[in-house]
Symmetry: C2
Subunit: 335 residues, 2 copies
DNA sequence: TTGTAGGCGTTATCAT
DNA sequence: ATGATAACGCCTACAA
């Protein structure tokens, strides 16, 4: 047997479905007795409205989408957590997608979002995505899109991010202030705007301190593991190197693996700072000083902004910068 | 302007919507020219079928649900990853929910799954869930439910898990084999079946080795941090303790924080083994020997089983045990 | 106060 | 080969 519908109740009570519909939602002009009867029967039969039908009728879906490049263990889990909580609070459900860092797949997913009438979409871009046409199309169909974290600068889409350059500046300045001066910089894929921004901050901090960035000490890694060998070599060839900045937890993990095998010792002769969600730094030995970049907060704000847009309370263009803070731990605590 | 529909195409071509529908899906008895005309216009107008309507018509939704107690950083991210991949491969979309370890919320979510006509649901239970009535109801409505990881034994629902007792036995035997004999056991919430199973394995291994489990050295922690103080005290009061088994990454992280501050040294005078997804053990110092418990594999198999059930290829009752393996690292490598 | 009709977009089943 | 009709479950003018 299928589920109980409004029609079933109507039939049983020998009244019209529309009356049942109205009774169920306390429509003002509906008889007390009918209302009571309907409600009671609904309860007895365990009626619950078919949301699919309701949404179809209203040309809504009650769904929002979250498109991620892929699910790592450090940052995106908190984003999912925050987005799901916010969504449910507003009576929405969250669909999670992975583009697998592929533009093609990202486009397919965008199309899916259209076909399923998602009411809003949160996106952290794949590294292949330099053009946002597929998301512009969503916006044209009145489906708001909010970019976060992996974003593209200067596009027409609202976005939520940290002050990436600022975060990197903070990190590097902290290293300088503790006397580490010859720094390696580890960055994610070179196409990503956040890589560029953080590199820019890295550079700025150098200039402001009257120091030169050594570009040959900077890596833009496709995958974290790719920086392993270059790091080993670099540390070997340049004894003067005494510090490292990593723009993400993944890169830090890799770097620390390398550091384990060198004779440099942290923090005595080598300083380390990372931009992190704030978990990994505590697991490592020594605990690593980090710029806190909360995935939860980014996710929360991005989702909140999305709902604002969905309600038509349109700033239609806007950028939110989630604040960051320095947490100084052992990796830069030198005497 | 809304989206292009079949009707728009029909009107433009002055034919009937049903013909358009047929033409679009290459129905055999549709004129060559009409078919061509329809397809071309569809392309020009950028028509794409409204999935919501299609699913409504078919009383399907194209959605499966994944209900988690809450999203941590170690295990569930890989589960989400696997489930999303499998779902998309089969043309389904994945909804992610968090019960927040609350039975009440879990019930609400189960109801949501009904109301939205989800076609299948994967569940890792909250610690409050001792009764599965709310999921039985789903099954009665022909919505398959597969439990994984945090499951309840002996219920009528299909489930995917590792051999929990076996995993714990492996871990403890390994400790014994390296000469660590006086072990602490760290377990998650006492209500969870996996806690019980892993405790059981912990105990079995002791018995098989002719040793006594010290129940006062076993903790069932509500939250990982809760075992901090007891651990400190225990290590302090009982110098003979020379090893520790943690049933999860979270517990291990906490334990290692404590170990940092003691004078025991790993692996020389103290051995550690954990059941883990295989990431954290490499970040810690020294690297921790673990029983590999792959979230990705559990998620993949659970989703695959779900789809089998959804297709009606019903074993309707079944249990899958995902194999585990021992990865021996530094924390048990004593001379 | 309640019933009637029409439609959200699509398709299965008739009939033509 | 195509058109007409009805239905999925619900809602909302409008009519009575």
């Amino acid at each position: 047997m299928g589920r109980i519908t409004i029609k079933d109740i109507a039939r049983a009570l020998d009244i019209h479905p529309s009356t049942v519909s109205r009774a169920l939602k306390d429509h003002p002009d509906v008889g007390m007795e009918t209302k009571a009867a309907v409600k009671q029967l609904a309860l007895e039969l365990g009626y619950s409205p078919n949301q699919q039908a309701i949404h179809f009728r209203h040309r809504k879906s009650g769904l929002i989408g979250l498109i991620l490049p892929s699910i790592n263990m450090f940052f995106f889990p908190s984003v999912i957590q925050a987005a799901e909580e916010e969504a449910l609070r507003k009576g929405y459900k969250l669909l999670v997608f992975q583009s697998g860092e592929s533009l093609e797949k990202e486009k397919q997913i965008a199309q899916l979002c259209l076909d399923f009438r998602l009411e809003g979409v949160l996106v952290s871009l794949s590294k292949e995505s330099q053009d946002l046409g597929h998301f512009e199309e969503l916006r044209e169909r009145d489906i708001p899109v909010v970019l976060f974290d992996k974003v593209l600068q200067g596009e027409q889409l609202p976005l939520v991010r940290i002050g990436d350059a600022r975060a990197a500046r903070l990190a590097v300045r902290h290293l300088f202030s503790r006397g580490y001066q010859h720094l390696i910089g580890l960055f994610d894929n070179v196409n990503l705007d956040i890589s560029q921004q953080r590199y820019y901050g890295f550079k700025q901090a150098h200039e402001q301190a009257g120091l030169q960035v050594r570009n040959d000490w900077c890596f833009f890694a496709e995958k974290a593991v790719d920086c392993h060998k270059p790091l080993v070599q670099l540390l070997d060839e340049h004894p003067e190197i005494d510090g490292l900045f990593a723009m993400s937890d993944e890169l830090l993990a890799e770097a620390m693996r390398v550091m384990d095998k060198t004779d440099r010792s942290i923090p005595e002769t080598f300083g380390v700072v990372v931009i992190s969600d704030g978990r990994l730094p505590y697991y490592l030995q020594p605990k690593v000083t980090y710029i806190h970049h909360s995935g939860y907060e980014v996710g929360r704000q991005a989702t909140a902004l999305l709902f604002t847009l969905m309600k038509g309370g349109t700033p239609e263009r806007s950028t939110i910068e989630v604040p960051v803070s320095l947490v100084s731990l052992e990796s830069t605590r030198r005497k």
